[in-house]
Amino acid sequence: MVEIITPVLLLMLTFFAFSLAFWFYGISKSRPIISSLLHPLVTAPILVSAVLLLINIDYSDYRKANQPLFFLLGTATVALAIPLHQQFHHIRNLTKPLLLTLLFGASVAVITALFIAWVLGATPETLISVAPKSVTTPIALGIAEKINGEPGLTAGIVVFTGVIGAVFGPLLFRWLGISDDRIKGFVLGICAHGVGTARAFEVSGKCGAFSSLGLGLTGAITAMILPWIIIYAFK
């Protein structure tokens, strides 16, 4: 009996934790700094993890039970085409600044990651696993496989990068005095992939569209150039 209802309960756990986190986020909205740090992407996973540890359930069981959400993540990615299409007239005029920012941003992400990892005493295995960190998870896993990184480690690092970007991005924009949704969105997409894009859509549709664009382009470009950087760096 318990084996039969466990998957349903574990899927319900995600929805329950998210609803609670979302409600909590809602009441903290009046204080922007605190509310950024209490984003449901931070609080909901902590809540779920705490419950899993408490009732002693393996992550692999939880993951299996939540497979429908992993699948819908793919469907939601496809859905990003619609805001991209609707906002394309904003994007077309900005081809040059966007491409320059993208190329530079994607390179800086990889180079700073490798450099800081090296300074902090990372082993070559860790170095390779952190390199694709700012790319959306499925692409990063593909890259990690190609450059012989550790897929589980890469997946965790990618997700954590997205959360850090989505949480601190809005605070950085306030600090740097950025009010342009196009800049906020594109930077969130480049640096924090899908998680950042989820956050960008909370700002505005335009912000989300620019983030979707940044997410798609960064993924494609990093997938193409990173294997070469790695081959060169470890020659």
Partner: protein
């Protein structure tokens, strides 16, 4: 909205198949997104209300769909004890540096009218 969801699933399927059979390193859903975008751009018709609603619904709950993946970070057992500092340090420092640099670069580039609308000037 059902027709819209069906269209999203159709493009997800086409994307998965394309990714699988061409061996591209780009995941299926991202290819599906690109193909759907190209289709919308090339067909001059308006987006149907159903498709708009379906997309809006999916995107609204994007954060929820990331929760199971985020939970995985707390269960990473493959990191050796001496590698936690580099891993956390890299994620936090490099992400913040990259965000600051790209934000300032894009702000600088957007403030230069020469770079905007290159075609309109010719």
């Amino acid at each position: 909205m059902l027709k819209g969801l069906l269209a999203l699933l159709l493009f997800q399927g086409i994307g998965e198949a394309t990714s699988h059979y061409t061996g591209l390193p780009i995941p299926g859903p991202v290819i599906g997104m690109i193909l759907l975008f190209l289709y919308l751009q090339l067909s001059s018709r308006e987006i149907s209300i159903g498709l708009g609603d379906a997309a809006h619904f999916m995107i609204r709950w994007l954060s929820l769909m990331f929760v199971p993946a985020c939970v995985g970070f707390f269960f990473l057992t493959k990191i050796p004890a001496n590698q936690w500092l580099p891993v956390i340090g890299v994620i936090v420092i490099s992400t913040l540096i990259t965000m600051i640099i790209t934000t300032l670069l894009m702000k600088y580039l957007m403030a230069r009218p020469k770079l905007l609308k290159p075609k309109a000037e010719q």
